[in-house]
Symmetry: C2
């Protein structure tokens, strides 16, 4: 009898870092694929900020939360090792919501073959949740125009780094906000951003003034935090603010207040939140929009690889500390 390891969510997060007491590591018996089922051996698991929402109580979340006692939800890539399903063969590389476990049984719903000759890290970094989120948020919510100035927070993160590169490819001036000088260097010198601000440095207002002399037309918000108000103060008439994430506030008991709404009127600004589960039916068109940029070599990425299933638990905290360097992926 073969066993495998899985991690269940057993408690809801409270303010502060994510602790191991929210999870239980369990050993399960590996069962064979039943009729029309496949058995997948997961190789790469994606960690995403959205997972914090999935762990939270239902009233606050846009998709049903993970039930307590169930395997923690996540997307990943794996290899089909048994198949009783007509669409899948042993050896297929597949992607889908596989959860925090080494093996996943599936009826094939929501599981897709990965045909592109790209490393699994690249597939998870660009074509999974981050790429879909960046494409939907930037193009369909933000409506960028060539010549405009965009600022993106969490700019070295999995979504932010794609947003900035896509906007550059569209002819915008792109400024990124990050949490270290090393990330500043990476987004400017590797990704081609026009400027970068380390939000932990001094004189943020002065840096913003210097980097956005014509104001800001499009603000892609991934983080929240005190720089939000400084950016808000520099928005131009008819600006758009795309609210994608507020990672710095998710674990606070008392989230920071937001800016007063008077400038929304005076400058006719639109602030719009969005979440990918509303747009899963648009995935084919989002991939069709994103793929040419990737094929033209305009999108670089880097993955931050953690090793072993249990590294996922501490890994989630890297979103809060900003210590992740690129897309967080757990290699199994």
């Amino acid at each position: 009898m073969t066993t495998y390891t899985a991690i269940n969510l057993i408690a809801r997060p409270t303010p502060g870092p994510i602790g191991s007491e929210l999870f239980e590591v369990v050993t399960k018996e590996l069962t064979k694929a039943g009729p029309s089922q496949i058995l997948i051996k997961q190789t790469h698991m994606s960690l995403d900020p959205a997972m914090l929402g999935w762990m939270s109580p239902a009233t606050d979340s846009y998709i049903p939360p993970v039930e307590l006692g169930s395997v923690m939800r996540s997307s990943g890539i794996g290899e089909v090792v048994e198949s009783n399903h007509p669409k899948f063969s042993v050896g297929d590389r597949v992607m889908g919501m596989m959860g925090w476990q080494e093996y996943a049984l599936s009826d094939g719903q929501g599981i897709n073959k990965v045909e592109a000759p790209l490393p699994s890290e690249t597939v998870l970094s660009i074509f999974a949740l981050p790429g879909l989120t960046a494409t939907q948020g930037l193009f369909n919510v933000g409506k960028p125009k060539s010549g405009e100035t965009l600022i993106v927070t969490g700019a070295a993160g999995s979504v932010g780094s794609l947003v900035g590169q896509l906007a550059k490819a569209e002819g915008l001036t792109v400024i990124g906000v990050v949490g270290s000088d090393e990330k500043c260097d990476w987004i400017v010198n590797e990704l081609g951003f026009d400027g970068a601000i380390n939000y932990k440095s001094d004189d943020l207002a002065g840096q913003l003034d210097a980097l956005t002399p014509d104001g800001i037309d499009l603000f892609f918000e991934n983080t929240g935090g005190p720089i939000q108000n400084l950016i808000f103060d520099r928005m131009n008439n008819h600006a758009r603010i795309v609210v994608c994430g507020m990672i710095s506030d998710y674990t606070k008991a008392e989230p920071n207040p937001g800016p007063n709404w008077i400038p929304l009127i005076k400058k006719r600004i639109t602030v719009q939140g969005f979440a990918m589960p509303d747009h899963f039916h648009q995935v084919p068109e989002l991939l069709a929009k994103l793929t040419p940029y990737v094929m033209q070599g305009k999108i670089k990425h880097r993955s931050h690889i953690l090793n072993g299933l249990e590294s996922a638990i501490d890994g989630l905290n890297l979103f809060f500390t900003g210590e992740n360097k690129g897309k967080l992926i757990v290699e199994l």
Copy 2:
């Protein structure tokens, strides 16, 4: 030689009530209409919250501010008393931006004849800035759907009372927030709102819960103030917030902070500010949208009439105190 009275703006507003020291009352010599000009004797002057923006420094405003030393800007209705203009005859009733003065000389630009057989108070209350603002904000920004719940602040005001009645006519459940029990009574028993809250009363959260058991889909914000956060907490998924005015914050040195943006993501909410000067080119279509509701008797209004040009100065403060009962109009 005949003279007339005008009021010039001579200083920008500072926090606190609008004082008479911002204005100078001047006596001017009445000149004859020149070639292609008309002379209008103004009979009714409209006071609107937007005027506070026009008085403020340029950097903060969406149309050029009134220049210091110039006649204060306002819309009004008057009678043509001299005409050298082919389109206007003596005796015509006309509407346009006439300013705080008893007589206005004009080349006809932006001056329109009022042909409808309605009292001037009605024309200024429904078809001028308030009606255009309510129509644009509710329909084009808010996108109301029958069966939804709308809440409007400043609900007894010139814009809010129209927004609520239009939304009722469209099949929404409509709750109004006002500043007195008398206004509660008026919007429910005269205008047909489904419920009303006096924001000066106790247990606002409990009142909101009782009146919006299915949450709030559309929030038309005219006032700001502490109830904003309570309303924001009750917004539904995919809600829209139309930010039209923040009258309670305009004269504060430190405006209240707004709500944190996390719910914008979790509930995929859109918050959009707008201002009518962006939409003046849409006036014909806005009037075409609004007129049938008026003709079908679905729109009631009340005017709060002040008497004499100089009453305009103190009149502006009624917006802050909420003591105005309906559309503020100065009868000359």
